[in-house]
């Protein structure tokens, strides 16, 4: 047990050996311990939520702007896809350490890393969504006298919306996971309790469980948003069956 502690980055906190036998035996899930200690997860949970939302919003604003800039400038698409792709391949820990000399430990580094990881997925999906807009719809819109801007906001983006939201869903779920690593940037996300007591099953189940629930809730909310914002998709599917 102490041997494992050596792997922990911020100094492992050895499990307190007080209390009942459940945590002493490291039982599968110690309800009593969980009930007594749940407050310890509140701050990491809120931090986790906050950092995921902020990172995805920032990533979306950047990636969406990039997609709009490269829309109609096809030659930019490979450059943007390449750049975001290379950034995506940097291992998370390496990325944090690369930023340390510039932004130091803390929220800034964590948010930069998480935002950058969302760029590739959101950008690619937005570009694909715009590319998949039926040619006839664009032709009709232009032929009826829409300006490029009107065509973009009234026809192309609404039709690309399901794919854009699909990108957001993947980006959000993966950000929930990667955010746990931000403990290495000294940000108190759900990763902190997780890595502090990495061998204590009850702790792992609570911290891990909260992340899974968070990912599931985000994903469901985005799916709901897609249903509400793109009702024509559902209607046509109903007709097709």
């Amino acid at each position: 047990m102490t041997g494992l502690g050596a792997h922990l980055p911020l100094g492992a906190v050895v499990i307190h050996q007080h209390g009942g036998t459940c945590q002493a035996d490291n039982g599968t899930f110690c309800f009593g311990w969980a009930a007594d200690n749940f407050h310890r997860y509140t701050t990491p949970l809120l931090n986790h939520l906050f950092i995921v939302v902020l990172a995805v919003v920032i990533g979306f604003v950047i990636a969406f702007s990039m997609a709009l800039i490269s829309h109609g400038r096809g030659w930019l698409i490979p450059a943007f896809t390449g750049t975001t792709g290379v950034l995506y391949t940097i291992p998370s820990l390496a990325f944090i350490f690369l930023l340390l000399p510039i932004t130091g430990l803390g929220w800034t580094t964590a948010i930069i890393v998480l935002s950058v990881y969302t760029l590739q997925i959101i950008y690619r999906n937005t570009v694909a969504g715009l590319a998949n807009v039926p040619v006839d719809s664009k032709d009709a819109g232009r032929g009826m006298g829409m300006t490029d801007r009107q065509l973009l906001w009234r026809v192309e983006l609404p039709l690309a919306l399901p794919e854009i939201i699909a990108g957001l869903r993947i980006a959000t779920v993966s950000t929930v996971a990667i955010a746990s690593l931000m403990v290495f940037a000294n940000v108190n996300t759900l990763g902190s309790p997780l890595y502090q007591q990495i061998t204590f099953k009850t702790n792992i189940l609570i911290a891990g469980g909260l992340m899974i629930i968070m990912a599931f809730v985000f994903d469901s909310l985005l799916l709901l948003a897609q249903r509400l914002l793109a009702p024509w998709r559902r209607q046509s599917r109903r007709m097709a069956t």
Binding site: P134, D136, S137, D139, A140, G141, R142, G143, M144, G145, M146, T147, Q150, V155, P158, L159, L161, A230, P231, W232, Q235, S236, M239, A240
Partner: protein, 398 residues
């Protein structure tokens, strides 16, 4: 029932405008041959001009230059008196109805929203737009309840009707239609074509209509422009002229070997020289009728009443009687109308396997007799050209 379009809802419904191509050339960069080569043609206001030709002949390009979705390289297109080059492209397009083959309906907008596209672009107030949308459902004979649906919930034919309604929404003086019925099955296509012709008779828009189907061109067009590869205008004429006097081998090939039959579709029974049958009035002594039969064009006597309405053909048995009977052995069927389309008249003759059919005028009086022989002689005789020319000069609608 088709409701009039130019009603109060649309302020000062736009008059149709003439469209005039002046020596128009389209060159794409990097291509040696122009896509459209010195195209000149005039479309009078309120006419349907069909641009037809094989794929790659530039017909769609030619049409698209009118609303500048394709820019003109050289020459000019005038709508009324105004050059399209002097107009702001988006403003110009909002004044031209635009219908394309796959409808181009916006899948994410309801039917009513789709129809309201151009009114919304023009900034009409909501009430006026809503009234206009409701009115257009009447125009295209569709239930206004469809307005809340999405395009994918409609059949192809319904979608295409909505496409036409959307193009008509702001009552544009000119309509551009790019193979509008091309993706519809043959039965519905014919229905949509007929509907559109009926509608056009009321709204009298100037229409540029692109198709690759010569039959559709002949049916829909007041005038037909035949284009060939490289955007050369080979012939620009009325459908009848086109069938009668193809400008060259290309047009003759394109129009097809059955152009004689197609000509019949453009003619009416009254356009041909009918034969005269000896008439037998009810109660007339048969001796007089027998005398008339000698050397008559039609070797049978047609029994008519005192109003000269056909009652039937006199048989040999009838002729052996003293006077012409009220009810001859053979009925007059089929009785054709002088206004019938010649092709339909021929079909009637062939279907009933009759040699001669009486033709009546609008009052039901006998006007002459038509036979398969007359039609076939007409089609091969040199004077047919003259006859047909006269027929071509007259608008078919009269």
């Amino acid at each position: 029932m088709i409701a009039p379009v130019g009603s109060l809802e649309v302020e000062a419904g736009h008059q149709a405008a003439s469209v005039s191509y002046r020596d128009v050339t389209k060159r794409y960069p990097g291509q040696t041959e122009p896509a459209i080569n010195h195209l000149s043609l005039d479309v009078p206001a309120g006419d349907i001009c069909v641009l037809v030709g094989p794929s790659g002949c530039g017909k769609t390009t030619a049409m698209r230059m009118a609303n500048r979705t394709v820019e003109i390289t050289d020459g000019d297109i005038l709508i009324g008196d105004t050059s399209v080059r002097d107009r702001d492209a988006t403003e110009l397009r909002r004044e031209m109805g635009y219908v394309i083959q796959q409808t181009g309906l916006f899948p994410h907008r309801t039917i009513a929203e789709n129809i309201a596209t151009v009114p919304n672009l023009l900034g009409w107030d909501k009430d006026k737009t809503r009234r206009r949308v409701r009115e257009l459902f009447d125009v295209i004979s569709l239930d206004a309840e469809l307005g809340d649906r999405f395009p994918s919930q409609l059949s192809g034919g319904q979608q295409q009707r909505i496409g036409v309604a959307r193009a008509l929404a702001a009552d544009p003086p000119v309509m551009l239609m790019d193979e509008p019925f091309g993706a519809i099955d043959p039965i519905n296509r014919e229905r949509l074509q007929n509907e559109f012709l009926r509608l056009q008779a009321e709204i009298r828009k100037t229409v540029l209509f692109v198709t690759h189907d010569i039959d559709e061109a002949i049916k829909m067009g007041d005038r037909v422009a035949i284009l060939k590869q490289g955007g050369h205008l080979v012939q620009y004429a009325t459908p009848a002229e086109l069938l009668m006097a193809p400008a060259d081998d290309f047009v003759e090939d394109f129009v097809g070997a059955d152009r004689a039959l197609k000509r019949l579709a453009l003619m009416r029974v009254r356009d041909i020289n009918l034969w005269e049958a000896p008439l037998a009035y009810v109660g007339q002594p048969t001796a007089e009728v027998r005398a008339k039969l000698n050397g008559a064009e039609v070797p049978h006597a047609l029994v008519v009443d005192s109003e000269r309405r056909p009652l039937g053909w006199l048989s040999d048995a009838d002729l052996r009687g003293d006077t012409v009977p009220q009810k001859p052995d053979t009925g007059p069927e089929p009785v054709l109308d002088a206004d019938d389309i010649m092709r339909d008249a021929l079909a009637d003759l062939l279907q009933t396997e009759t040699q001669y059919a009486p033709v009546t005028d609008a009052q039901g009086h006998i006007a002459g007799v038509l036979s398969v022989e007359i039609i076939s002689e007409f089609l091969v005789s040199p004077e047919a050209k003259v006859e047909e020319h006269a027929a071509a000069e007259r608008p078919l609608g009269e």
